[in-house]
Each structure stands twice: as C-alpha cells, then as structure tokens.
C-alpha cells in the first residue's frame, strides 16, 4: 500500500509537444512511462498527458489522492530551465498571465475552478520549469531539456 492513502496517484504532463517548450510536461510523462516497468515507485501510477483544457484536467485529477502536474511556465529568458515546485496553497502564482498554456484558462484558474467545484485531489503538486519558446515547432530548448531528468526523479519521489 502506498503512503498516499492507497488511492489513485496520477502524474499529468500538461502541454503540446508541437509547441517547443510547451512539450516539457508530455516529455516528462514519456520518460516516466519508459521507467515505469523497472521503477517500483511508479507501480500503479496513472501517467497521463493533457493539453491543459480545464475540464479534462479536472477530470483527470478528480478523486485522486495525489496529483502531480508537470507543466512549463513562460519566462522572460533570464531564468530559463529553472525548476519550480508548488503545492496547492501556492498555486495563485500560476494565475492568468503567467501560464504558458495555449488555452484561455490557466492552470491556476483551473485549480481555482476545481476548488469551487469541490474537485481537487487530496494533494496537488505542480512541477514546473521556466521555458522561453512556445511557438509552433518541435523540440525543447536546451535549458528546458536539461531539466527533464531532475523533474522525472522528483516526480518519482513524490509518488513513492
């Protein structure tokens, strides 16, 4: 039995891998999926990808004991590749205007919507990286790509 109450644990990679650094979340989830068979910490962990559309995101984490959301946030270039870890009470830092989401409702607002609807996981952690390129194109910028292994490892620690 895992220490998260025996309930569902989900890691959600938010983003679009055809939008440069926005592909960070899906890239981390792909790396976790690659490790899942060999890493006991990932046993029975639900690995999912979301484009950030708020209702789907809420559906993915509803009822979970632990949700780890991996996303990229827009940076002015001075802190590209920096990693951030936010818990539920700090998610106002991801309010509108800071999210790199391609949709009209940011991750911060989605969390607030989930809260208003009583649909948040018991514990929610956001692992974010500062990215700089969110235009159409493939491939992470080097500072963001370099952050993938550390975020993969941190996600494994969180779900363990």
């Amino acid at each position: 039995m895992n220490p998260h109450g025996g309930g569902r644990r989900v890691v959600i990679g938010v983003g679009n891998d055809y939008r440069r650094d926005d592909g960070f979340g899906p890239m981390v989830v792909a790396a976790l999926a690659w490790r899942q068979a060999d890493d006991p910490r990932l046993a029975e962990v639900d690995l999912r990808v979301s484009d950030g559309e708020p209702t789907r995101l809420i559906d993915l984490w509803t009822g979970a004991d632990l949700a780890v959301v991996v996303d990229a946030v827009l940076d002015d270039g001075r802190h590209a590749g920096d990693r951030h870890e936010l818990s539920l009470d700090a998610l106002d830092q991801l309010a509108d205007g800071h999210s790199a989401s391609s949709h009209g409702i940011s991750l911060g607002s989605t969390v607030a919507l989930g809260q208003a609807l009583g649909r948040l996981p018991r514990r929610l952690v956001v692992l974010a990286v500062s990215g700089t390129e969110f235009g159409f194109g493939q491939g992470l910028t080097p500072p963001v790509a370099a952050a993938v292994p550390a975020v993969v490892e941190r996600a494994c620690e969180l779900v363990d």
């Binding site: 509108d96 607030a112 609807l117």
Partner: protein, 432 residues
C-alpha cells in the same frame, strides 16, 4: 462615460478564447478608423512539417494543431487522403466517424457555452466566478461535456489527440455491447442539453445583426458534419475539390495573417450559425423542436445568439449519436487499405467552429509533396473585424472598460479557436 475625442485603451489579453492573438481598434472622434484581428499562421508550420511524410501520417500529426478539435483535423485529413487515393470507406466506418465527430461537437460546444460564453450573459468575469455562485450550472456543463469526452475516448482510444484513427477507418472498432453504457450516458445528456437550450434562450441578447454571407457544408438528408458539398446563403454551391477556386486567401498589409474571402464577393462566415442557416431542415425533430421553442428562426443573424445555435447543435449531436449507436453493426473490417497513388486530394468537414479544409499532394511512393490547411477561425477573421467595426461605431458612448469588454464578447461570439491559428492575442483600443 467618456466622450473624449482622443483616447487610448489597452487590454493586454483577451479572456476566454481558445488561444491567443492580437486585436487592435482605433477610434478618431466618432469614427472607427481601423479594426484589426491579427492571427498568425501556425498551420503553415504543419504544412511544412507534413511534406516528405508518409500519406498515412497527417491524421496523427494534424491532430496536434488543436486540443479542442483534433477529430476535425483527423477527419479532414482522412477525407483528403482518401480522396487522393480514390478510396471509399465502409458505410459502418463512415457512421463511426460521424459518431466520433458528434463527440467532439458535444465537447467543444459545451465547453464554449458553459465556460467561455455564458459568463458574458450572466455578468460574470469568468467561469470561475460563475462556478462560485452557480456551481449547479457549471456541473451541468461538465456532465454534458463528459458525455462527449466518452464518445471520443471510446472511439478514439483517448480523450485528446485520439490514436485509434487511421486513413481508411479505425485501428479497432467497438462491439455493439461496448456502446451500451455510452448510450445511457448520452440519454441523460440529452435532457441536460434541452435544459441548456431553454436556459440560454432566456439570456438578454444585444440587438445586433450582421449581413455576412454564410458558408457551410450541406449534405441533403442530414445535418452536415463529416462530409458534404459547399454552399452559401447567397446561393453559391461548389464541390470541396473547388474550394481553392472559390476561397481566396490573401496577405493584408497590417497583419502576418492571411485573410480568406469569397472570390468575387468578399468576407464570409463559417461556424454553427452558417451550418444552421444551410442545414436547419435536416435537424432531428427533437433538435428542431428545441430550436423553434428557443425562438431561432430560419437563420440566426445575431452573432450573440450563436450560443443558442450551439446549444441546439449539442442537442442534435447527442440525438444523432444515439441514433448512430442504435443502428450500429460493426464493419467487416475496421479499415480499408489506402494504397498510395500520385494524386491531389481534398477534404473538408465541419469542425465545431466551421469548415476545415485540407489538401494534400501525394507521390506514387506515398510521400506527401504538398499540404494546405485552412482552419475556420482564419476564415472568420474578416467577419469578426466587420462586426467589431459596426459594434464599436454604434457604442462609442460607452466608457472604455465597458466597450472593451463588449468587444471581447463580440469576438467570443465566434468561439475563435486561435490555438489553431495563432499564439498570442492582445486587445488594443486606441481612441484619438
């Protein structure tokens, strides 16, 4: 209230549209001098990416253009490639595609109605604020949307960027038994959708009308979704293969965006109101009854009332999905082979926001030599600008904040999926 002759308004982000872009309005005295909706051209990236890829790849690749309407991209891509390769799919496969598409309409329309558009009419700045007061409404919207999600997940293999779709059909088709629980969910959602129509019919709509030529697919005998020929409200009709003869995209000086216009005419609009005007007679009796009860006439020329059309189309999509499930018999094979040949193929389907055109050139080995994608939002740009120009011109007595907010609403009427066609949207209002 401001009556200054010269003033400038800046709004740095346009809320509640799918994606981002740029909007600029300039007013001098009582004259609206300039209105620009700048949308860049990300499909061009995908068009370039597709060249040299296998003819089987566009459904998967183009699905990544948009998280809201991946099925539309997949269906238009399949239609174009199958047209090039002269392949016709099994009727049961065609029905499953229509069912899948109904799922996307339900998802997309419900998202727009409840989370993006309704807050405008109820005086809330966002869906979040609406949810705090009226959780019941948002819950109803989410429940309906989930019904659509389940269709897409069952047929597409997953809810976003479905992986079960291939040229020629599906990798796997469901058994009739698998569709039974889905049917029950849809039945419940029909009642919620009818309630949605009644609810939205009670909104207070601004008195505003347009005279755009409306363009949509038509498929006599049924409401056009995944196939048809093209028609306009001015009586023009043409085959999808002639799309590029009738729809001209041209560069405009003020924008990096291409603007689409009807050859020999000018601006036109696509989307739910266009579909409704040209396909109303083929709505199901239930949807038609809902439309009549909501006061929608033969067509809908008030863009604010497009929320009602989306609500009626949601009723139709649910009703049609149930009809398709009830008559479903699995095809003998989930797909037909699509051997490549050197040819050009054309496909158009009705994405939730309007007609989505794809064209592919394929060589004898099955490699893509050319690709062109025309999404609905870029086709509506000129009409949105025209609405804004007239809308602002008749409301210059409003203060800056209120006028700007109403401009945003005027844009949201078209449910612009700017994710499909741009990356950044600022609204700038400049008064001189």
């Amino acid at each position: 209230m401001s009556h200054r002759a010269d003033r400038t308004l800046d709004v740095r982000s346009l809320a509640r549209v799918e994606g981002e872009g740029a909007m600029h309005v300039r007013v001098r005295g009582d004259t609206v001098e300039d209105v620009r909706l700048d949308i860049y051209e990300p499909p061009r990236f995908f068009e370039a990416l597709l060249r040299g890829r296998r003819h089987t790849e566009p459904p998967d690749i183009t699905a990544r253009i948009c998280g809201i309407c991946p099925v539309a991209y997949q269906m238009s891509a399949c239609a174009a490639i199958e047209d090039a390769c002269a392949v016709v799919v099994d009727p049961a496969v065609a029905d499953l595609r229509r069912l899948l598409y109904c799922g996307e309409w339900i998802e997309s329309h419900t998202l727009h109605i409840y989370l993006l558009h309704a807050p405008d009419f109820l005086g809330y700045p966002s869906a979040l604020d609406m949810a705090k007061d009226r959780r019941d409404l948002v819950e109803r919207g989410l429940a309906m949307k989930k019904a659509g999600n389940e269709i897409v997940e069952l047929l597409g293999g997953r809810a976003i960027h479905p992986v079960n779709i291939r040229v020629g059909g599906f990798y796997r088709t469901p058994s009739p038994r698998e569709l039974v629980p889905l049917r029950e969910r849809l039945r419940t959602a029909v009642d919620q959708a009818l309630e949605t129509v009644r609810w939205a019919a009670g909104f207070d709509f601004p008195d505003f009308h347009h005279d755009h030529e409306l363009l949509a697919l038509v498929s006599p005998g049924r409401y056009a979704i995944e196939s048809g020929t093209i028609a306009t409200t001015a009586g023009r009709t043409f085959e999808v293969q002639r799309f590029e003869d009738h729809i001209i995209e041209e560069q405009v000086p003020h924008s990096t965006a291409l603007h689409a216009r009807l050859a020999g005419r000018g601006r036109y609009a696509v989307g739910p109101s266009a579909r409704y005007a040209l396909n109303r007679q083929w709505l199901s009796p239930l949807a038609l009854e809902a439309a009549d009860a909501a006061g929608l006439g033969a067509d809908c020329r008030n863009p604010y009332r497009s929320i009602l059309v989306r609500a009626v189309e949601t009723v139709y999509a649910l009703d049609e999905a149930i009809r398709l499930i009830d008559r479903y018999e699995p095809p003998a094979r989930p797909f037909v082979d699509v051997p490549p040949r050197q040819a050009v193929g054309y496909g158009a389907t009705e994405a939730p926001r309007g007609i989505l055109f794809h064209r592919y050139g394929i060589d004898a080995e099955g490699l893509i030599t050319s690709a062109r994608i025309v999404p609905p939002t870029s086709q509506n740009q000129a009409s949105i600008e025209d609405d804004l120009r007239r809308f602002v011109g008749s409301r210059l007595d409003l203060d800056d904040e209120r006028l700007t907010w109403q401009c945003e609403q005027a844009i949201r009427n078209y449910d612009p999926c700017i994710s499909c066609s741009t990356h950044f949207l600022d609204l700038t209002m400049e008064r001189r």
